[in-house]
């Protein structure tokens, strides 16, 4: 008789309950602590402030912008990997993994140099005559998206590579023989094939970007406020933990809704039907 797999997952289940479900329940419970006992006071206060709405939208927008930019950069790199020989593939994997071995904080501080007035971007634009004087991309949304894109790029490249390495390159040749042009091959063959990898990557990139406190604070500055900074402010500066818990729950729900929406879109039968 085939043994049940339950005993094998029991340790993981217990750990999840102890270190994820319980703290999450405490967090949710805290969020309902109001000045006069349990209430929706913190949620009403948070959602009643237009500034907080904007912060929520900014956080979601930052996640989507980073998804778009990492996808645009990640797909060509993954396709290049697919069509490369063994050595080139090893080099691509090495270059993809090496930034992940560096601390996020270090990578973020490196971006201060790159985005600054005396950084390579500003100097190149001035040298090419595209800008009259040195400029800074620090404390701008564009600078933040650029930094996040580099930091999170491996999260989209690796799932794509995992899918493509299992797929014969002859797929594209078959499409060519059938008369499909390069764009048609990309849209009707390659993208649907890569969709599961893209979905996994999008979820990772979105979760990483929307929670990336250090990069948001250092590169985005104080003008670009995102939800993690609001939570930190409530916990570390204002010591209003019930409010911080309410904001964390709102962040969890809003990002959760977006991730579910992404999953549903990618599983839509019209999209899946092409695969």
């Amino acid at each position: 008789m085939k043994a049940s797999g339950f005993p094998y997952v029991l340790p993981m289940l217990l750990l999840s309950v102890a270190f994820f479900a319980t703290p999450l329940a405490v967090l949710v419970g805290f969020s309902f602590i109001g000045p006069d006992g349990p209430s929706l006071h913190n949620y009403a206060r948070f959602l009643g402030d237009a500034f907080n709405y904007r912060v929520l939208v900014n956080t979601a927008t930052l996640g989507l912008q980073t998804i778009a930019s990492t996808t645009l950069l990640g797909i060509p790199i993954a396709l290049f990997y697919w069509h490369s020989g063994k050595t080139a593939r090893q080099v691509i994997i090495f270059l993809t993994l090496i930034p992940m071995l560096t601390s996020n904080v270090v990578r973020t501080f490196a971006w201060i140099v790159i985005l600054g007035r005396q950084g390579p971007i500003s100097e190149t634009f001035v040298a090419l005559g595209l800008a009259e004087r040195p400029f800074t991309l620090m404390s701008t949304e564009l600078g933040l998206v650029l930094a996040m894109c580099q930091i999170d790029l491996p999260l989209i490249i690796l799932p794509l590579i995992a899918i493509l390495s299992r797929t014969p390159v002859q797929f594209t040749e078959a499409a060519q023989v059938s008369g499909a042009g390069p764009w048609r091959i990309l849209v009707t063959v390659l993208l649907p094939m890569m969709l599961p990898g893209l979905l996994a990557g999008w979820i990772l990139v979105f979760a990483s970007t929307s929670a990336s406190f250090v990069t948001q604070a250092v590169i985005g500055g104080a003008r670009n406020v995102y939800v993690p900074q609001l939570i930190y402010r409530e916990v570390g500066t204002l010591f209003d933990w019930p409010m911080a818990s309410a904001i964390a729950v709102v962040l969890l729900l809003s990002t959760g809704i977006l991730l579910v929406a992404m999953t549903m879109i990618s599983r839509h039968r019209r999209l899946v039907g092409h695969a």
Binding site: F51, V113, R117, A222, R223, R233, G236, L238
Partner: protein
């Protein structure tokens, strides 16, 4: 490809080894009494670790210097009342008031400090000794901008446009500067509406708002900013790094904040904590801490001021510095933080 195989016996040994490795630091720590002392990150952390660790060791204890901003120290101690992660805290009167209000720190026993009498009575706090006085002002890069006269100059002189950086109200340095600006442009130190109005009228200043003074020092090094509100210690550190940085006392007076060490309520190693406090106010320590790159103002009467510190402030000038009303600040701070953050975000 070679399969990955592991026997139950090997797995057991691996798990036991991992568990032993995890337990190792705790058993090592339990062997000797160690003071876990919270200090500000950066300059303070480096200096305290280098200078105080040997002195605490001489007294028969170990020292772990844990870097955290004063607000973060408070948050962490509040998170585990009765079981604080630190034995001592390092903070200014603003945070000290919050710590007392929340019963997080305790009165000290001065008889346990050999160097207690070396402190001026003003530095002998019942909740702990004052280890230095941070004198605040304006840091600037002389290669990029002229020396500012004071806060008003930063808003009215076009030479500073786009080159001044500010922090939010969570920073003590920031809030002390804003109190002074409120006096200049408003009706008094708590008239922050006047400050918010000033920033609205000068939106280019809002572009330079960042989270902390440490962040500003990084931007200063990169030439991204040329002016920021600072303490003399910040400028001393920048100079020690070989950067062009100068300190200016504003024409309206320099805000100042004593920095104190406090014993947490429920401190696990009080004897080690007292040894650390005693080391911090000793002549041996303060003779070193007054030198660059820290240039901390010594509170031990036996320690002579260096010419570098005297250029900022002399002992007899201490009384004439501007000491903010922290009770009034604490009362309004949360609201100011929220209002300013919303203003900065546009």
């Amino acid at each position: 490809m070679q399969d990955f195989n592991i026997t139950r016996r090997h797995f057991g040994l691996l798990a036991a080894g991992a568990a032993a490795a995890v337990a190792l630091p705790f058993t090592a720590r339990a062997a000797g009494e160690t003071a876990v002392a919270a200090t500000f990150p950066g300059n303070w952390e480096d200096a305290y670790r280098t200078v105080l660790t040997p002195l605490v060791k001489e007294a028969g204890f170990d020292l772990t210097v844990a870097p955290a901003m004063a607000q973060d120290q408070l948050a962490k101690v509040m998170a585990s009342p009765g079981n604080p992660p630190y034995d001592t805290l390092l903070m200014s009167p603003g945070q000290m008031a919050v710590a007392i209000e929340n019963d997080l720190i305790q009165k000290i026993d001065p008889s346990k400090l050999k160097n207690w009498n070396m402190l001026d009575p003003a530095f002998q706090g019942e909740y702990g000794p004052t280890v230095t006085v941070e004198v605040n002002g304006i840091a600037y890069n002389p290669d990029l901008v002229p020396a500012p006269k004071g806060y008003r100059d930063l808003f009215e002189n076009p030479a500073y446009e786009g080159l001044v950086s500010w922090t939010g109200f969570a920073s003590n340095t920031g809030v002390m500067a804003y109190s002074e600006i409120a006096k200049i442009f408003g009706t008094g130190p708590t008239d922050m509406d006047a400050v918010f109005k000033l920033f609205k009228a000068h939106p280019e200043h809002l572009k330079g708002v960042v989270a902390s003074t440490n962040h500003q020092m990084t931007l200063f090094q990169q030439g991204e900013i040329a002016v920021f509100m600072c303490s003399t210690g910040n400028v001393a550190k920048l100079k020690a790094l070989g950067l062009k940085a100068e300190f200016v006392q504003p024409d309206t007076g320099s805000p100042a904040a004593p920095v104190n060490i406090h014993l947490t309520k429920g401190a696990k190693n009080p004897d080690a904590a007292y040894a650390y406090m005693d080391a911090a106010i000793s002549k041996a320590a303060q003779d070193k801490l007054k030198m660059p790159p820290t240039e901390m103002f010594p509170t031990n009467k036996e320690v002579e001021l260096t010419p570098g510190i005297e250029a900022y402030v002399k002992r007899e000038q201490l009384a004439s510095l501007v000491y903010p009303d922290w009770a009034a600040i604490n009362k309004n701070r949360a609201e100011w933080i929220r209002q300013f953050d919303a203003l900065v975000a546009g």
